[in-house]
Chain length 435, copies 2
Amino acid sequence: MSRPVNIGIIGMGTVGESVFNIIRDRYDFFEVKIGTPIRIKKICDKKFERKKPEGIDFSLLTTEIQDVINDEEIDIVVELIGGIEPARRIILASLDKGKHVVTANKAVLASHFKEIFKKVKEKKRQVYFEASVCAGIPIIQAINEGLCANEIEYLLGILNGTTNFILTKMEEGKDFKEALREAKERGFAEADPSLDISGEDSVHKLSILSSIIFSTHVGLEVIHKEGIDFVDPTDVKYGMEEFGYKLKLLAIMKKTKEGIELRVCPTFIPKEHPLSDVRDEFNAVYLRGRYTGDMMFYGKGAGGYPAASAVISDIVYLARKVVQGIEEHLPYLDLKRRRLNVKDINDIETRYYVRFTTIDAPGVLAKIAKILGENKVSIASVVQKESSGLSEVPILMLTHRAKEGSFKKAITEIDRLNVVRRKTVFYRVEDERFY
Amino acid sequence: MSRPVNIGIIGMGTVGESVFNIIRDRYDFFEVKIGTPIRIKKICDKKFERKKPEGIDFSLLTTEIQDVINDEEIDIVVELIGGIEPARRIILASLDKGKHVVTANKAVLASHFKEIFKKVKEKKRQVYFEASVCAGIPIIQAINEGLCANEIEYLLGILNGTTNFILTKMEEGKDFKEALREAKERGFAEADPSLDISGEDSVHKLSILSSIIFSTHVGLEVIHKEGIDFVDPTDVKYGMEEFGYKLKLLAIMKKTKEGIELRVCPTFIPKEHPLSDVRDEFNAVYLRGRYTGDMMFYGKGAGGYPAASAVISDIVYLARKVVQGIEEHLPYLDLKRRRLNVKDINDIETRYYVRFTTIDAPGVLAKIAKILGENKVSIASVVQKESSGLSEVPILMLTHRAKEGSFKKAITEIDRLNVVRRKTVFYRVEDERFY
């Protein structure tokens, strides 16, 4: 029996406590799996006022990050504090001290991928981060190992549980504010949910997945982002009733001949699509491998225990390496310097759902159609709703594939028409039956 | 740069050719991923009359298995011939010669798990077998690594594409024979499909998944098996129309307080269940981890390229170990001798869908209900179909949870009633809303 593998946990929030509890409860199992016990050598948190997990040894506790990083016996540092700093410094300093790192921190990875993995390569240590995307769903391992034979050609992700919960409630008839309130009450949205509803959290996760897929850092700035805060329940309803579509906040990666498309935006998908049944706080990644064809990974994308499940799989993986005494191992990710040809959002081609709000008068549709035609946007389907006595009526439309730049130019022109009463609303549609 | 990792492929059918093609097409990528090239050192097939893959070096070809096993430079033997013998002997002899093995062969694994993994432990080599269950879906890696923190408490699998294709066609109104014919025409069923339709293939795969989950060999003989060859489209139709259920050939593993349930049988699931939308030749595994909660893995479970994708992920994984020169590594699976408490099928408790065929006369239902009651089977719902002028009428029923032994005893008694015209048909129902 080799010596125990020593880990130091920094950050004792929900995920940290869950990691502690699982290691305590399944200690013997992990000893068999790794070939030696996992010993929690130190636990660091800013303050330990909160309730301690049952069975904790108080002598392990510290409020000083340096106590963990400078402990020469610690093999693996588990960073669970979130945010950019001091997480970034903890990760880099741990690598400098020859330790492996496990982190659940999507923000620091998405923002400092290059710096971190340069250090990983230099120090011949590993940073594992399964919990950073979709918590307990082992999607990073799948892309990096199980599917490594494949180029991933297409990926659609529901990567944020908060927004998916809200959109599910809006499908059920609630408006955005009511849905957000329910999400907060049920613990699916934080007090300040702006990172989630703005799409920023999903952008972080798409950046991480794309960086793995392309073996190069895909920065946040190349991912087009739109949130769900302006989603009107009217469109959720019309999308379903008129076209059989559900609105989801999708993270999209698509390889095309002209370049790579990367975006996070509320998007309609057909109700027959496997992602359309991903409800409430669940996450899913739908992807197309060159050899596997289409696949989907589905599960809970948040929560202390699901995230801890991923953190522990990383710990076990690295602990086995520590036991085997591998020093010169290959990097988990070997990032290259290469320029990806990412399309500008105005250069993508997709279908659109459009809702015009116009006066109820003859000739309105003709005017709209003329401008669309002039901009090479062709119409696939139109539904003119009855006016029900109001002075304004909605006109719903599905377009064929059109270039986003031309489409937006057309909408801008249409919105200047005096028959148009409100700013036109549109969503992209991901419907492969029409590709 | 270390020396290349040498592999020998035994069996050059559809999967073998796909493995060859992928390695040829992505040679440079794998070199980066592994740190050294993969070299295909020998390819063995009984006869090489079939069309060779493009770019093959004819000097690699042999018809003698021993040429591969005795080649001292070969690090990894890839066994792709299927069936029990000589696959079993190839795997054991390769381990004896100090080689790692990758196999896609569910039959040999399910039947000789113990013998193979005893040898693995003794020789400190590995046998990897991702392609043996659900082809390209990395479910074995997920259970063994990504989800290793979890006990898997519940698993429902659609593990056989042929039967799922047939049942999907029966949902669309075809009868079993028509559906089977279409499956054969479209290449989703073999000339002799008996292994698939009898449920045997799914039993093999459930045996493998359960052996990983319980770290002990789960033999074929403890898994209750029923095939789909007697499925009547009437029940597929009634299940959907009357109760909102879809019929799937499910592989089920369920931990209960009284023991483990293991079975493969046509089973009704609610149409809201994520598995109910798994159509045609697709496979999926739905599972519940102690910490992750419910998850699903979905994708193509058969075909040369999807299987080759899994074979190659195993090759890459093992090749990295070869490069790192790890000799004394931990076993991928460390099987224990322990007795699992597997329930006899008569001891399980579940709900049932039942179709009685009776004469159209007053008092029939009372007689049936009386016998069910005497056997402690309670009725949740009854639909008596109109007779439409026939001398016999169907009575459809959903039961509450009942013990299988008591339920079957009741059905035997009911089938002896002279008002009952045909053998009663029943299917188990997996509906957690009632648990």
